[in-house]
C-alpha cells in the first residue's frame, strides 16, 4: 500500500479536508448543471400545464417507482460502505460497494427496459403517432429524455467509479481508511440519488394527482 498522504499536503487531515471540499464544490457545480434543466422544465410547465399533465401521464410510473426504490436502497448501501470504511471493516466496505454497484446496474437495466417501452409506444419527440396531440407535450417528452439521459450518464460514471474503488480496496491499492476517497465517492453517489428524487415527481407523478 502506498502512503496515504500526498504532496502538496503536509498532513493527512488537511488532505482529507481538501478532497471533501473539492467534491462539495464540484457538487455545487453539478447542481447548477441540473438546475439549468430544472429551470427549463419549470418555465415550460408554467407555459403548458395541461400538456405537461397529459404527457406526464404517459410515462411508465411502475418502472419509475421501482427504480426510485432501487436507487434509494443503493444510497443506503453506499452509506454503509462509507461508514464501514471509517470503522475499518474491510469486508463490509466490499459488501457495501458490491451491493451499490449491483443496485446501480439494476437501475440501468430497468431504465433500459423503460426506454424500450417508451420507444415502442412512440413516446419520443417527432414520433409519427405521438400519443398526446397538444402543443408542449413533445417538449415534455424531450425533457424526459434529456433529464433521464443526463442522469443515466452520471450514474454510469458513478458505477465505473464504484467498480474501480471496489477493486482498489480489495487489492489494498490505496489507504481507504485514512484518505477521504470513500467518503467522496459516497457524496457523489448521493447526489445522483438526490437528483433522481427530484426527477421522479417531475416526470412520473405529473398529471397523476387524481
Amino acid at each position: 500500500m502506498t502512503e496515504a498522504r500526498h504532496d502538496p499536503f503536509h498532513d493527512i487531515a488537511r488532505q482529507r479536508h481538501a478532497a471533501e471540499l473539492g467534491l462539495w464544490v464540484f457538487l455545487a457545480s453539478e447542481l447548477v448543471f441540473f438546475g439549468g434543466l430544472f429551470v427549463t422544465y419549470g418555465l415550460y410547465r408554467y407555459a403548458y400545464p395541461s400538456a405537461f399533465e397529459a404527457a406526464g401521464a404517459e410515462t411508465a410510473i411502475w418502472l419509475g417507482t421501482i427504480n426510485t426504490a432501487i436507487l434509494l436502497t443503493s444510497s443506503a448501501t453506499m452509506a454503509a460502505a462509507v461508514w464501514a470504511g471509517e470503522a475499518g471493516h474491510k469486508r463490509h466496505v466490499l459488501i457495501g460497494l458490491a451491493l451499490t454497484a449491483l443496485l446501480g446496474l439494476t437501475f440501468m437495466g430497468v431504465k433500459g427496459v423503460e426506454y424500450y417501452k417508451d420507444i415502442s409506444e412512440s413516446l419520443y419527440p417527432g414520433a409519427a403517432d405521438f400519443p398526446v396531440d397538444m402543443p408542449g407535450a413533445q417538449v415534455f417528452v424531450g425533457l424526459y429524455w434529456a433529464m433521464t439521459g443526463v442522469h443515466a450518464v452520471h450514474l454510469s460514471i458513478g458505477l465505473v467509479a464504484v467498480a474501480i474503488t471496489l477493486w482498489r480496496v480489495r487489492a489494498e491499492r490505496f489507504d481507504w481508511q485514512n484518505t477521504a476517497l470513500l467518503h467522496v465517492l459516497g457524496l457523489y453517489w448521493h447526489l445522483i440519488d438526490l437528483i433522481w428524487i427530484v426527477l421522479y415527481p417531475l416526470l412520473y407523478l405529473m398529471g397523476r394527482s387524481l
Partner: protein, 565 residues
C-alpha cells in the same frame, strides 16, 4: 469551515531541493505528464498563445473585409463563419482561461505559500480537456466552420444552421469541464494550502480575484454546459426543446446561455483586475488603498454578476418588468467596479511611480476599463440599449473590456512575472514601445466602432452602406497597429529566453511570497515553507509615505523588511 491554520504542521522546516522547476527534465514526457503547477501553467500559456493568434487571424480577415462597403473579400457565408470562429476561439480558448490557468496556475500557489495546487493531477487533466475541446473546435472549423455566432442562438443553431454546430458545441462543452476543474482546484488551494500566518485578509488581491473568478467558473460554466447540451441533443436526437412548432421557446435558451455568459465576462475581467492591483502597488511603491473595500468589491462583483444576465435580452421579448429589474441590477454591479477604479487611482496618488512596461500596461488597463465600463452603463439603460442593440456600439463596448482591459492586463502580468517565470529580463525599451503601441492601436481600432454603432451600423454584416466606410477604414488601420503590437512581444520575449540578462529573485522589489523564492522557482516553490507575518503590499510602513525603490539588492528581504508597527 474548520480553521485550517490551527491544524498541526508536522514538518514545517524540512529543506527541499533548490533545483529550478525547469531542471526537472526537458523531454516531451517531462512536460506532458508533469503535475507541477508551474509547468502546467506554461503548457497553458503556449496553448493559449496559439489560440490567440488563430482567433486574431480571423479578426484580421474580418477587418480586411470591412475596409470596403461591398462584400468582396469573402462571401457572406464565410464571413459568418469567420466571426463565429473569432468569437468562439477568443472567448473560450483564450479569454476565459487566459489568466486563471497561466498566472493563476503559476503564481497563485506561490502567492499563498504552497508547494503546488491542491489537486495536481486534476490540474493536468484540465489542460488536456482544454486542448481536447480546442481541437474539436478547430476541427469543426477545418471541416467547414460554424455560422451561428459565438452565442449559438436557437432556433437557428438547432433547426436551420447546416454547419458544424454539434462539433463546435461539443468542443466548448469539453473545455468547460477543464474550466470547472481549474476553478475547483483554485478554490480548494486557497482554502486549504495557505502558508502559516497567511490569513484571509492577508491574501494578495490577485489571489482574491482568482478565488472569486473560480467561484464564478464553478457555478456558471455548468449553465453553459447544459445550454450547449440541449442544443446538441436537439440536433442529434431531435428532442426539439426549443422548436416553436412544438411549443418550444427559443428565449429560454437565451436565458440559460446568458446566465453563464454574463458572469463569464467577470471570469475574464476579475483576474485582470487582480493582476493590475499587483502591478500598480509595486510600481507606485504604495500599499493598496482600501484593501478590505477591494476584497468586498471583488466578492460583490462575483455575486452580483449572476443577477444581471437579462440585460442582453432587452429586445428579445422578455417582459418589461424583467428588463426593468435587470437594468437596475446592471447599474448596481457597476458600483464595486467603480470602487476598484477609485482605489487604484488613490493607490497611485502620492506614490513613487515608475513607468516600467508592466506599469504602462496597468495604467492602460485603468483607462480602457473605465471607458469600457462606462459605456456598459449606457447599455444597461434600456432606452439607449434599444437604440444601439446589436450595433457596433456593443461590439466596441465589450472589446474595451475584453481586449482593451483584459488582454492588456494579461500582457501586464506577462511582463511583471516574466523574470520570475524564466529568470530573465526582456528588453525594457521594446516592451515599453509594445505597451504604448497596444494602447494606441487598440483605441484606434475600437473607438471608431462606438461612433459607427451610434450611427446605426449593425454588427455581423459583411457589407454596409458607403457612408460608414470612413469609420471602418479607421478601425482597420488601427487594427494594423494593434496586430503589430501583439507580434512585437512574441519576438523580444522569445529572444530574452536566450539573451536576456539574469533577473535575480526580485527584480521589481515587489512584495508577495512569489518574489521570496528564486527565479525560476524550485519544483516545490520554496526551499523552506514560508510563514507570513505582514499584511500584503508592505511597501512602506502603514502610516508613512512611500519612498523610492531601494536599488541596493535584489533579494526578497529588502521588500519585506517593513512590517506593521
Amino acid at each position: 469551515m474548520t480553521d485550517i491554520a490551527a491544524l498541526p504542521e508536522p514538518h514545517p522546516a524540512t529543506p527541499r531541493p533548490t533545483r529550478s522547476y525547469l531542471g526537472a527534465g526537458s523531454d516531451l514526457r517531462s512536460w506532458l505528464l508533469t503535475t507541477d503547477h508551474k509547468r502546467i501553467a506554461i503548457l497553458y500559456a503556449l496553448t493559449l498563445t496559439l489560440f490567440f493568434f488563430i482567433g486574431g487571424a480571423a479578426a484580421t480577415l474580418i477587418r480586411i473585409e470591412l475596409i470596403t462597403p461591398a462584400g468582396d473579400l469573402v462571401s457572406a457565408d464565410s464571413y459568418n463563419k469567420l466571426f463565429t470562429l473569432h468569437g468562439v476561439i477568443m472567448v473560450w480558448f483564450f479569454l476565459v482561461p487566459a489568466i486563471p490557468t497561466t498566472f493563476g496556475n503559476f503564481i497563485l500557489p506561490m502567492a499563498v505559500g504552497a508547494s503546488d495546487v491542491a489537486f495536481p493531477r486534476l490540474n493536468l487533466l484540465s489542460w488536456y480537456l482544454t486542448v481536447a475541446g480546442g481541437l474539436l473546435a478547430l476541427v469543426s472549423l477545418l471541416v467547414g466552420g460554424v455560422d451561428t455566432g459565438w452565442t449559438f442562438y436557437t432556433p437557428y443553431s438547432t433547426l436551420y444552421s447546416n454547419s458544424y454546430v454539434t462539433l463546435a458545441a461539443a468542443g466548448v462543452f469539453v473545455a468547460g469541464f477543464g474550466t470547472i476543474a481549474t476553478g475547483v482546484n483554485m478554490i480548494v488551494t486557497v482554502h486549504v494550502l495557505r502558508a502559516r500566518g497567511m490569513r484571509w485578509m492577508r491574501l494578495p488581491l490577485f489571489v482574491w480575484s482568482i478565488y472569486a473568478t473560480s467561484i464564478i467558473m464553478v457555478l456558471a460554466t455548468p449553465a453553459l454546459a447544459v445550454a450547449l447540451l440541449m442544443i446538441v441533443v436537439d440536433r442529434l436526437f431531435g428532442l426539439s426543446l426549443f422548436d416553436p412548432d412544438q411549443g418550444g421557446d427559443p428565449i429560454i435558451f437565451q436565458h440559460v446561455f446568458w446566465f453563464y455568459s454574463h458572469p463569464a465576462v467577470y471570469i475574464m475581467i476579475l483576474p485582470g483586475m487582480g493582476v493590475v492591483t499587483e502591478i500598480i502597488t509595486c510600481f507606485a511603491r504604495r500599499r493598496v488603498f482600501g484593501y478590505e473595500a477591494m476584497v468586498f468589491a471583488i466578492l460583490g462583483i462575483a455575486i452580483f454578476s449572476f443577477f444581471v444576465w437579462g440585460h442582453h435580452m432587452f429586445v428579445s421579448g422578455q417582459s418589461a418588468w424583467a428588463s426593468l429589474v435587470f437594468s437596475i441590477l446592471s447599474f448596481v454591479v457597476a458600483v464595486p467596479s467603480a470602487i476598484k477604479v477609485f482605489n487604484w487611482s488613490a493607490t497611485l496618488y502620492g506614490g513613487h511611480i515608475t513607468f516600467e512596461a508592466s506599469m504602462l500596461y496597468a495604467l492602460g488597463f485603468l483607462g480602457l476599463f473605465t471607458l469600457g465600463g462606462l459605456t456598459g452603463l449606457f447599455l444597461a439603460s434600456i432606452p439607449i440599449d434599444v437604440h444601439v442593440h446589436d450595433t457596433y456600439f456593443v461590439v466596441a463596448h465589450f472589446h474595451y473590456i475584453m481586449v482593451g482591459a483584459m488582454v492588456t492586463a494579461f500582457f501586464g502580468g506577462l511582463h511583471f512575472w516574466w523574470p520570475k517565470v524564466t529568470g530573465r529580463h526582456y528588453s525594457e525599451p521594446w516592451a515599453r514601445l509594445a505597451a504604448i503601441l497596444m494602447f494606441v492601436g487598440f483605441n484606434f481600432t475600437f473607438f471608431p466602432q462606438f461612433i459607427l454603432g451610434y450611427l446605426g451600423m449593425p454588427r455581423r454584416y459583411h457589407s454596409y452602406p458607403p457612408e460608414f466606410q470612413i469609420w471602418h477604414v479607421l478601425s482597420s488601420a488601427g487594427a494594423v497597429i494593434l496586430a503589430l503590437a501583439y507580434l512585437v512581444p512574441l519576438v523580444y520575449l522569445t529572444l530574452s529566453l536566450r539573451y536576456g540578462r539574469r533577473a535575480g529573485d526580485n527584480p521589481w522589489h515587489a512584495s508577495g511570497l512569489e518574489w521570496a523564492t528564486t527565479s525560476p522557482p524550485p519544483r516545490d516553490n520554496f526551499v523552506i515553507p514560508p510563514t507570513v507575518d505582514t499584511d500584503p503590499y508592505a511597501y512602506h510602513a502603514a502610516h508613512e509615505e512611500p519612498s523610492e525603490r531601494d536599488e541596493s539588492g535584489g533579494d526578497h528581504q529588502s521588500s519585506r523588511k517593513d512590517e506593521m508597527p
